[in-house]
Symmetry: C2
Subunit: 253 residues, 2 copies
């Protein structure tokens, strides 16, 4: 099966799956599917289903679940990356697409002293995230939070490990900070172009963040977000298969 398809939980009842219209078109384009064919469907909440197609119409594809698993393609570590809203939207989009592939659980666009934009194109980013989830074969659609300040985010966060990336000499290399923490949930803050101000770093540290460095090269903001995420994913020592994708019997519909 070349790609997964997306059916939100509301389109799954018992063993019966009714794909949304856009997704049904995608199935028809990609698979040229006929009744009797199989496809992989994810519900964006950790549910993965092998589905036998029972009916194909121009705007509608129906199927029956024949196998069900949980959290296929999902990492153990629960990673949130908060990245300053970037001036160039395409760079934020590159970040979002690749963060989903690398296993992020939640993305938070940050408003900081040096951000020059207030907003993101939420619908467009969500579509990118759905496409990336399907393409990379995850079963969970990561959250996309509303743009907010680092203070608001840190006040509400219950992450076990909180990291703020900045270039200071006293910062710990990020992989060391994370390896110590094991499989914890992690929140990583990354500034926009130009980084966080010294006051913002201080406030983040006061709110429980460890200052971490991404090395001696000055990474672009979106590269920094991806490198930080990847370091956290590697440092967390996931088992090779990233576990939790246990089979469970399919309940009759």
């Amino acid at each position: 099966m070349t790609t997964n398809f997306y059916a939100p939980p509301s389109s799954i009842r018992g063993r019966r799956v009714v794909l949304p219209a856009a997704e049904a078109r995608h199935v028809r384009t990609v698979l040229r599917a006929e009744a009797g064919d199989e496809m992989a469907v994810v519900d964006g909440r950790g549910g993965w289903y092998r589905v036998e197609i029972t009916h194909v119409a121009p705007e509608q594809v129906l199927g029956t679940i024949v196998e069900q698993r949980e959290d296929v393609g999902e990492p153990v570590v629960d990673a949130t990356v908060a990245l300053g809203v970037l001036k160039k939207r395409s760079r934020f989009e590159t970040f979002v697409e690749k963060a989903v592939e690398l296993g992020v659980r939640r993305i938070v666009p940050l408003r900081t002293q040096r951000t020059e934009r207030d907003s993101v194109r939420k619908e467009r980013l969500r579509n990118l995230m759905v496409a990336a989830m399907k393409q990379c074969r995850r079963s969970r659609l990561p959250d996309l939070a509303a743009p907010q300040s680092p203070e608001a985010l840190l006040a509400a966060s219950e992450a076990d490990v909180k990291l703020v990336c900045h270039a200071g000499e006293e910062a710990t290399p990020i992989r060391r900070a994370m390896v110590e923490a094991g499989d914890a949930s992690a929140l990583v803050l990354v500034g926009p172009e130009g980084g966080f101000s010294a006051a913002e770093v201080e406030a983040a540290v006061a709110a429980g963040c460890t200052p971490v460095s991404l090395g001696p090269r000055r990474l672009r903001a979106e590269t920094a977000g991806l490198a930080a995420l990847h370091s956290v994913m590697i440092g967390s020592k996931d088992p090779p298969n990233e576990a939790r994708s246990s089979r469970r019997p399919t309940e009759p519909g």
Copy 2:
């Protein structure tokens, strides 16, 4: 100093620096420089210079080296990433920009069974690489090889560690393969969209490559290239400051 400027070795004679015209314009735009100001200049071969500007004209900036270092911003590990030429040029360009930031030493565009393009835009990629080198404050301009086959590349490679990324179950997680190798030079092969064929993986293994996995999610080719590179950089256990940036006295011109 907000960015580095680029002066190829031919434009440096003794302590005297004559910036190329394009770079001189960049200095004038970014710095609004005047005689007496300082700037950081790299020669793309590991030379880093603090330069006092002595003369500014519309197409010309001259200066005198007041401090000289070597390999500033350069990692210890000598990493080559070979990536299949991608259908979408913009995705290969994203890879190139970020690979330079993450510390790659050499990029090799690969022609494989599943590549649908033969060529890259060499001049455009080189410009991107120069810009990324300056922006992220490296002192070496990575090599960009001509597109070639995995066989040709592997036959010529003297890397200590050779890795081929593929999704097979028997593959070692890439970080484990690299951590065992320590600070070696490394070559990582990453396929185009659709990956390597089974025959290509077999041939690479026969030529000395270890098959490695990038985890359970199916990464896009350019994301895979970046994740593989970052894993190698992290696994190589560089010291935090990535060393080698020793000062040496400036020789009189």
